[in-house]
């Protein structure tokens, strides 16, 4: 039948037509633009508005950046070089960058020390952030705080060594005793570390710091972006264990402990960080024993740590709450006691869920370290608003300096938040 049909109906084509290119408007960039930029008239209008906004922004900023002056001694010189044209005066950055990064009192001959500590930081945190790396690297992470402390503050090498020995001794005692009972291990470890520090404290001579390999730098001399980094890293690290303890305490069945934790967390979360910094700068000194004096850096670290611990506790509490009840019941049915169940079953899972939240808190906290400039500490913002803008040469160079500070923070915070998103995808073990 088909044959006859083919014969009788002569206008039916027997061979396939060669493929033709899709119409110009339905392929390539034009199609993309039609679909993504000019789908409807309103959409097209929106696109034009957006293009205009981008044009205005770029045409203002780009010439200013590309016309920038990198070598000049003062703003006046910059203006002479620019000769009336618009342009940035980045010379302030090239002249003052050590002050912006390290503060104005950190001895210039020691700049390599925080730099090395900063580079080592990446090695130390890498095994924590990326699970694929060999676990042996964690040993370096454990030693890192002491190395960094020694590099940045200098002084006798004995202090960090002693501190490390104390921690290591405590850890060993903990390992020994933890099989008997968690409480025994925990408190035994602390006692051991304390004893080692006390004994060691007597052994280190008073004058040990005088002729140390690395000259001692008082913490008052720290400043610039280094101060922000140090406050951020130290406080987040310290607040994670405290936050875990608070979160567990808040979930506890013991009413007294629960209420202590609730009151602490809600109190800290209810007040702005700036009031806590006021406490550090004008109040905390009254609460220390009369014969001691704790320097401002340490007081600020204490308050910021308390601050971030309360927030991290809430994140971890969310993680604990998200665990299915079966996990708790399963642990109970295995005959594990509270410490074992928490340590071996509950926390590993709860922490895994909470990591992205903790990273968010860390980013927020790192940004909040700029607040210390309000209590006369010279972090990067304090340096800009204080010594640099007040100096005769650079009076009035706002945008270059503020832009530089903003850029530094953006790079760090954006980097961390990208990591957090990567981690979230990685940890998403449910199949969707």
């Amino acid at each position: 039948m088909s044959d006859t049909h083919a014969h009788t109906v002569s206008f039916v084509r027997t061979e396939t037509l060669p493929e033709r290119e899709p119409p110009y408007a339905a392929s390539g960039p034009v199609k993309w633009m039609r679909e993504n930029l000019f789908a409807t008239p309103a959409n097209g209008l929106l696109t034009l508005v957006a293009l205009y906004v981008i044009y205005v922004a770029l045409s203002g900023v780009l010439p200013w950046i590309f016309n920038g002056v990198w070598n000049a001694g003062s703003l006046t010189e910059c203006r002479e070089i620019l000769d009336g044209t618009r342009g940035a005066c980045f010379a302030v950055l090239s002249e003052r960058w050590p002050q912006l990064i390290f503060g104005f009192k950190y001895p210039p001959e020691y700049y390599w020390r925080p730099t090395v500590a900063f580079l080592l930081l990446f090695v130390a945190v890498a095994p924590v952030l990326f699970f694929d790396l060999p676990r042996k690297l964690l040993a370096f992470t454990a030693v890192y705080p002491f190395i960094a402390f020694w590099l940045i503050w200098g002084g006798t090498v004995l202090s960090p060594v002693l501190a490390f020995v104390g921690v290591a001794g405590g850890a060993m005692v903990y390992q020994k005793l933890v099989n008997r009972s968690f409480a025994a291990g925990f408190f035994g470890g602390i006692v051991a570390a304390y004893v080692i520090w006390k004994i060691g404290g007597f052994l280190i001579p008073e004058t040990a710091s005088d002729n140390a390999m690395l000259g001692a730098v008082p913490s008052r001399d720290l400043g610039g972006f280094m101060l922000n980094m140090m406050l951020g890293v130290t406080c987040v690290t310290l607040s994670v264990p405290i936050g875990i303890a608070l979160a567990l305490g808040r979930q506890s069945s013991m009413p007294l402990i629960k209420w202590i934790c609730v009151v602490f967390i809600e109190f800290i979360r209810g007040v702005p960080l700036i009031t806590l910094l006021f406490v550090a700068s004008v109040m905390l000194a009254y609460f220390f024993p009369p014969e001691s004096s704790v320097d401002l850096f340490l007081r600020v670290v204490i308050m910021i740590t308390m601050f971030s611990a309360a927030y991290i506790a809430e994140v971890i509490r969310g993680g604990l709450a998200a665990l299915p009840k079966g996990q708790y019941e399963g642990a109970d049915s295995l005959g594990l006691d509270y410490a074992q169940a928490t340590r071996l079953i509950i926390l590993p899972q709860a922490l895994k869920i909470s990591i992205p939240g903790i990273v968010n808190i860390a980013v927020g906290l790192f940004k909040d370290t700029t607040l210390v400039s309000v209590i006369s500490m010279f972090d990067i913002l304090g340096m800009i608003r204080g010594p640099i803008l007040a100096s005769t040469e650079w009076n009035g160079v706002y945008w270059e300096l503020l832009g530089f500070a903003a850029l530094l923070f953006f790079v760090v915070c954006y980097g961390i938040s990208q990591y957090s998103q990567w981690l979230e995808r990685r940890l998403a073990t449910d199949h969707r």
Partner: protein, 338 residues
């Protein structure tokens, strides 16, 4: 628990050192450095230079005390303080003395319990305006926007002055001198008010100092001086007499250049007592005999300090005025060394 461990660790590590209880003098000697509170930056009085070295009139007082007590004028740890933190820093023992152009007032002495050991600069509150504004008297400032540092006596004087003259103003509160300078230069306020010396120092850092004028009115008395905590008279005496030694040295013609030959060659008994070649004044203070000599030789006498930091030869160009020796008609007057 964790926190105390952490504190313990840092105590061991030697971060938290020092003591502030009974004898500040003993503490300073034991520590080997003097903790001196200064302003966060006021050129001429206390400001870090491009190398981070603190320089200025108040700084020299700190250094003189360190030279007298510790024998080393560089053994000073400068603690920058704002109007808010300065008194707490001193009261809590974070600093041993405060030399931060602080006005001696009744309430600071009696209510806040601080001992002002003397006056190193007699000042008064003034106003700075751009010449283009066309104002020649503070009384013409009706309705003006005024930049004023918070937490200072100037803030209260300002309110009093405008109320007394029945004129109005808009205050722009600022925290530090640096901020005030930026606000003023940007035109966010019509006039900037603070101590006349501070105005001169600030104006000296401007690109075009000639375009700004100080108004003739001085609306308050601002005796500025170093201060210590109440209740530690021994330490107060050390600071007080170090300052007096600098003043007396100028009166007696002892300078950093001739202090050594004066010590051995002078026949004036007061010079000898001052420089420790006669009598036991240093011992009475709990110091050695050379204390004043070290202070003078490292920093110079009062006149020399004035001349090198804020005097007419410097960009700040303050004349001695009230701060001339009493023998020249000024108010600078030290009790005798006897």
């Amino acid at each position: 628990m964790k926190k105390s461990v952490f504190l313990g660790a840092l105590t061991v590590a030697g971060l938290a050192a020092g003591a502030a209880a009974a004898g500040t003098l003993d503490d300073v000697k034991a520590r080997g450095t003097l903790n001196c509170g200064v302003t966060t930056g006021l050129v001429g009085f206390a400001a870090p230079d491009a190398n981070g070295e603190w320089k200025g009139f108040d700084v020299s007082v700190c250094r003189a005390v360190a030279a007298a007590v510790l024998g080393d004028a560089t053994a000073v740890e400068f603690v920058p303080t704002t109007g808010k933190t300065r008194f707490t820093a001193l009261a809590s023992g974070e600093i041993d003395m405060l030399a931060r152009n602080t006005t001696w007032t009744f309430s600071r002495d009696v209510d806040l319990k601080f001992t002002f050991v003397g006056v190193n600069y007699y000042d008064g509150q003034g106003f700075m305006v751009p010449k283009a504004l066309g104002v020649s008297s503070a009384k013409e400032l009706d309705g003006a926007t005024v930049c004023v540092q918070t937490g200072t006596t100037t803030e209260l004087n300002l309110a009093d002055f405008f109320r007394a003259n029945n004129i109005s103003y808009d205050p722009v509160p600022i925290e530090t001198n640096a901020e005030g300078q930026q606000q003023y230069l940007a035109g966010a306020c019509d006039t900037y008010t603070t101590d006349a010396s501070g105005l001169a120092a600030t104006r000296a850092t401007f690109e075009n100092p000639g375009e700004h004028a100080l108004l003739p009115e001085i609306i308050s008395k601002e005796p500025l001086g170093p201060l210590v905590r109440h209740g530690d008279d021994e330490w107060g005496d050390v600071v007080r007499w170090t300052l007096n030694a600098l003043i007396t040295a100028e009166e007696l013609g002892v300078t950093s250049a001739n202090v050594n030959e004066m010590a051995s060659g002078s026949t004036n008994p007061e010079v000898k007592r001052l420089l420790g070649t006669e009598g036991t004044l240093g011992e009475m203070l709990g110091l050695d005999a050379d204390w004043a000599m070290r202070a003078i030789s490292s920093q110079g006498n009062y006149g020399e300090i004035f001349a090198t930091t804020i005097g007419e030869e410097t960009p700040i160009a303050l004349s001695r005025g009230l701060n001339a020796q009493w023998t020249n008609g000024g108010l600078i007057y030290s009790p005798p060394f006897r």
